[in-house]
Amino acid sequence: MSFREKSAWVTLIAILLVFALFVSHAPRLSHPGGRDFHTLLACIAAFVVIETVAYFVLRLRYPEDARTPIDEREQLINLKATRLASVCYVIGSFLAVMTLHHGASAVVIGYLVVLAFVIAEIVKYAARIVYYRRGV
């Protein structure tokens, strides 16, 4: 398994963990500027910390792999995964805005856009892992 595939695994697991943390701590989305927003900020901070620590641990364990510059196959994998993720994000954001016609508040729409972003990121890193496993 290459260094970048390991990194993709770490990021995917970190996103899923932090997303689960957010969902479990923010069951209600009806308090603008309240605890939910603080939970969101705390989750973002937790994600940054987990990613940073995990990245440095990976770098320490696999220093030579970490120094290897990204090659053409890895660039292709990143591009293909990003393309899939961007489609998910556009569709998700569009559906979030459409909820306006069903009486959703601005806060709910905002959280739905965040949800679309999180799902798009999950798709991106999952797709990277699949492409790494398949070769491309």
Partner: protein, 75 residues
């Protein structure tokens, strides 16, 4: 245009060149060991530049490393 198959002799050429490892070949052409493995297994077709670099490492013409076949016949 039909489906194409690009085969290669990288594995054989590595062993004919002092049992060079995938890691060593990857370092010489600037790609990861996993990418060399994907090329050898036919899962990934390298760029023209990478293909020329591989041929240069082994000191052989490109067509001795990669072979092209289409489903419509000749190589």
């Amino acid at each position: 245009m039909g489906a194409t198959i690009i085969s290669n002799r990288i594995r054989q050429l590595r062993f004919e060149n002092g049992e060079m490892t995938q890691q060593q070949l990857g370092q010489r052409i600037g790609v990861t060991r996993q990418t060399i493995n994907a090329i050898e297994l036919g899962k990934y077709s390298p760029s023209l530049e990478a293909a020329f670099r591989i041929a240069e490492v082994f000191g052989v013409p490109l067509e001795q490393v990669f072979q092209y076949k289409s489903d419509q016949g000749s190589a």
